[in-house]
Symmetry: C2
Subunit: 304 residues, 2 copies
Amino acid sequence: MDRPELPLAQLHAFVVLAEELHFGHAAARLGIAQPPLSQQIRRLEDKVGHALFTREPGRVALTGAGRELLPAARRAFTDLADGLAAARAVGSGRTGRLRIGFAASLALTVLPGLLRGFRERFPGVRLDIREMTTAPQIAALRDKAIDVGLLREPPADDADGAGLAFRTVLTEPFVAVLPSAHPLAALRTVRLVRLADEPFVLLPRDAGPRLHDQIIGLCEAAGFTPRVTQRAVEWQTACALVETGLGVCLAPASIRRIRLKGVAFRAIEPNARTRVAVGWRADDPSPLVAHLLETVGRDPDSAR
Amino acid sequence: MDRPELPLAQLHAFVVLAEELHFGHAAARLGIAQPPLSQQIRRLEDKVGHALFTREPGRVALTGAGRELLPAARRAFTDLADGLAAARAVGSGRTGRLRIGFAASLALTVLPGLLRGFRERFPGVRLDIREMTTAPQIAALRDKAIDVGLLREPPADDADGAGLAFRTVLTEPFVAVLPSAHPLAALRTVRLVRLADEPFVLLPRDAGPRLHDQIIGLCEAAGFTPRVTQRAVEWQTACALVETGLGVCLAPASIRRIRLKGVAFRAIEPNARTRVAVGWRADDPSPLVAHLLETVGRDPDSAR
DNA sequence: GCGGTCCATACGCACAGAGATATCAGGCCA
DNA sequence: TGGCCTGATATCTCTGTGCGTATGGACCGC
């Protein structure tokens, strides 16, 4: 890529003159006087090394060299104008691509409203959403495989979260998930200690250590260590296991939305809540991330 | 076509930096110090309105906006470089198109050598050659339908030739064209007056008035007015008519080259010569015309 | 903690070039 | 022949900006 030889201003004058074929009119279109235009063209011709126009009195015409240069100059201008427009669109966040990781359990709660709100404001942005549990989202954020994550129980900033930022989107209570036929399902509220002897279904600790440990902690605070007999990667799966009688589980309240027959969701006592947060790279310059964070804060759906 | 917003120098710096992703190296490649490069990029970013690079300590990377602008800038540069090269090629006459009109009778004499010589020197130039008689060539030159004409007996500059220039390429004697069986064909030289009673074959006056009038003038100088019984547009045709016994004719000596059986070519007395000239628009800026004129002057074949 | 790397900033200089005004020269038409 | 249109030329001004040196601040590796 050599250093550019032809100033764009002169090429602009050239293109306009090639269209007008009249120095006075071209100068008017350029918003300058006629002598400067003559100079521009002259300088350009000096640099090219050949005349670009023939100036017979009365009519200005392109030379062969000018005819070669004209389309190239036009292409260069449209290239630059298009590129500039595209760069500004991306820079301002009106267009581009945003990769969002989300916990599967949010697909029925915050996610739809958030996506709807964002798409209304930025219809030109392509959203790549992919379902992932908490720990993979952290890794994907750091690897720049996703730009934003919607996850449960974010890590502390000074631990795994270095370089990442998180903001709580909402908190929700835990509920007990029981088979419908289970005796405790007859109660409106289940005291946690009553689950001490039940087999537990839990998510693998790898998927989201803090949420996992929080659940264990709740049980221990209630005076027992849960006996985990099954693991399931998804809450839906966990509920299905509960329904088949393989155990009970504690889950975020939004899990009610899946309306699985054969399982009952009951408030627990003592009360406990889990946080849903949005996470991103703290130094990400993308305006799309900023826009999404605004949308999270603004969207009334996400506040429920 | 709007006024260009982005100086090419800054775009150049941008492209190089995007390739190096290192201010120091990019500045070295540009042959400048590092601070000026930082300024260039900064100014460009100001004009675009968004950051084009992220400068995390240790690594420089393109932003989304930068990624949009980069290919456009590259395209613009290659467009301009190609266009400039093409314009210079055409401007210097290394390439382009040259339209040449020529009299059919020259196809066997000056034309082949001329074209060969020109093509050797300018292999990139496309030659459009078209056979035309003298008068149409004059009109075609003026209408810019051809750029150069090879013709016989050019008009005077102050008459039809206004704005056109001519240069004599060669002169050649007239010869008498006779049927082989004609009694005069037995002589080596034919005195013109001996043709006084013969029917004449001539080209139409419209095709080349000066040549036509010159032939008539020769006869009248010899003391008779030729009785024209046939017209033929081409010398070849005229010779064929002579062969069938429809008359005799006077033709430029190069007509011997057609080696038609049944006709004899004989020198005439008094001697008389006809001129072959090259013609062009006096104000034609095309370097190809100049090159062709040089070739006409230089080519040894054309001097024969 | 210390030097080294890397980029940004500050300041100054110099020059190209873009602009204006005024004027000139060549054709064209009345 | 004189007015008019068109484009070129001359001269001046001034701004943008390209480049340099000097310096500062952040981060990294030893």
